[in-house]
Symmetry: C2
Subunit: 357 residues, 2 copies
DNA sequence: CCTGACTACTGAAACGTTTCGGCCGTGCGG
DNA sequence: CCGCACGGCCGAAACGTTTCAGTAGTCAGG
């Protein structure tokens, strides 16, 4: 079914001039009153009310473009995100709610990790007069030309505020949990080389491991490569790991996403979680709780981080405080995918196959 | 750590006037050339190149606000979405990619299903001169004052284009699959009363059921109520259902989300999927494939729907074709959560309890 | 030498606000 | 009756573009 052509073009919206003509006043006066400028105090209440009433009557809506052009304040910020994953969605939602509540709108651009897009979008946004940037899960090669708040970015630049998780704390929470359950041989999934969090978190894990007396064994560490943002990221990796060795009782994944893929890979290889292998994830995305078994994980307060990013950015835009780094704390969420380590069975080599079946 | 005050304010960007002064030309000429207006043909190549070179040299970037104000074209659209769920994220990503590729930017607002926000945001967006709206998964009470494309909205309004799944086809695919596996007693999770898709889909299910000779039993139908967008939506519902009766061999959920919750509820009640109960979802969100068991589902081509919405909206903005409804086709994705129905065990009533244990 | 056509531009208005300096009229003190 | 202060409002510029109607200058044709 089809309609033809353009429908009735919206009737030209009423502007300040129309009101001025109607009221027999100048646009200056009306603008002063309606925009609540301080000078509005000099206008007698009677006139003010006349103006209000007329504005109401004709449903006057100020044109934001003109206002921004004149005032050099656009009340708009740009949000840069690699893609809208479940992680990104949570942060984006929180950022958006905060900004909207403060009268700011925002442009979103997904740069898909392409350097040329990551270059271009901020430029385009600046042409559109955004007042600042929020950058999610993205490595910034150089600082942007406006106030910027980066979530999980991990790169110091002059003029950008980083919001980061306390990874030392996070790594410690997770490993401590495993150690308390008696795990000693722990496998790890490291993050993608391009993931800003990956390196930081890995360093934290190394530190935590050392302080807890856990050995990190080369042969039990695998690294994410593939670029999809489905749980499939973890799957082939863990399959390959299991082909090499099954000599571990716990797996600490980079992600909930990769942990979920790992769950599946373990099961497909005949291993039970958590009886044979404990799995712990990271992030606490919505679906983590609804895996079978439900996923033990380290929660990042993504909503808080998003709201915080919005708050700090607006502060900075208004020329306020200008923190270089803000740290938020993780939380360990224990569910079903972790359990006491299976007893290390000391078996004479010749019996091993028997027990293995 | 803190820095003080506002840092070096971005140096005033160069404008047309600056170029004009530098080149000894008028802003009119420069604008004509740089914006590629048809009249640029009248300017000799030598001058054109001089202008280009200067623009390049001073990194001239036209101010989009001024351009929009003058030209009454903002190259911006507004996107309205209840919240950024996994469903919304996929659509939003696709919409965004399409729009960005065509030089459009977009504002996103999450109305959280609050009527007052749903009223207010379109107004605010119009003040910001958006040229049209894309509305996702939202019931529109009245048409918006600009070209509008609605995804999964199901409400006819003059001037709005609906993009909808072929629900008849979808319902038929799903039920046919179950019937072919021998299922006769099928439980259903109906959508929330406020979900635009819910009613349409339910009607389709009724039609499909009739044409396939499947009886829909009142006592096997439950309806979503809660408003979270985690898989938890399905959980308590299915628990309650199971308390009433276990006399069904398959469950057709409204959602993948609710299906995932159902998986968990079934397992918690000691039922195996798919051996005891087959489960089929809807949407095919990313995590559907990575449940254990992986979820059989009816896929909605969300990315396609998003891109389509963008495409149609831009067409309409340019005064082009104006379809009232566009239908896209679902696809059945068979995974592990469905299997042949367990044999109906004909039991004398007196033995029932025994068998039940 | 005048006319007209063409080339290569320019001037200025317009888009819808905000804002600052100024202006007019009234009332009061002197 | 004059001057001044003040209340109440207005004019116009400015924000950075686009675009339309010109207009100087050149050149060919008559």
């Amino acid at each position: 079914m089809m309609r033809k052509g353009k429908q009735d073009h919206t009737p030209k919206p009423v502007g300040l001039k129309d009101l001025a003509r109607y009221l027999g006043l100048s646009t200056a006066t009306i603008s002063t009153v309606l925009s609540g400028a301080p000078a509005a105090g000099e206008i007698p209440a009677a006139t003010r009310e006349r103006i209000m009433a007329a504005a109401e009557k004709f449903k006057y809506r100020p044109n934001a473009l003109a206002r921004s052009l004149r005032g050099m304040r656009s009340h708009t910020v740009g949000v840069l995100v690699p893609e809208i994953s479940e992680y990104g969605a949570l942060v984006l939602g929180a950022v958006g709610d905060y900004l909207l509540s403060k009268g700011y709108f925002f442009f979103v651009a997904t740069h898909r990790r392409k350097p040329e897009l990551l270059d271009e979008y901020p430029q385009l946004m600046r042409q559109r007069s955004v007042e600042g940037f929020i950058v999610i899960e993205t490595v910034l090669e150089k600082p942007l030309p406006l106030p910027t708040v980066v979530i999980s970015g991990h790169r110091s630049h002059p003029g950008v505020t980083n919001i980061v998780l306390n990874h030392d704390h996070a790594a410690h929470l997770a490993l401590e949990h495993l150690v308390q359950l008696g795990h000693e041989r722990i496998a790890f999934i490291k993050g993608h080389p391009y993931s800003p969090d990956a390196e930081t978190r890995w360093n934290s894990i190394e530190r935590a491991a050392e302080s807890l007396g856990v050995a990190i064994r080369e042969e039990l560490v695998v690294q994410l490569e593939s670029d999809t943002f489905s749980p499939y990221v973890g799957y082939p990796l863990v399959r390959r790991l299991l082909q090499r060795t099954r000599d571990f009782t716990a797996l600490f994944a980079y992600h909930d996403l990769s942990a979920i893929g790992a769950l599946r890979a373990l099961r497909d290889c005949g291993l039970r979680v958590p009886e044979d292998v404990s799995v712990i994830g990271f992030d606490d995305i919505n679906s983590a709780a609804f895996q079978i078994p439900s996923l033990t994980t380290v929660r990042q307060p993504l909503d808080k981080m998003g709201a915080l990013a919005g708050e700090i950015l607006l502060q900075r835009i208004q020329g306020g405080a200008d923190p270089v780094e803000v740290t938020v704390d993780p939380e360990l969420v224990v569910r079903e995918s972790t359990a006491p380590a299976r007893r290390r069975i000391e078996i004479p080599a010749k019996l091993e196959t028997v027990v293995g079946t």
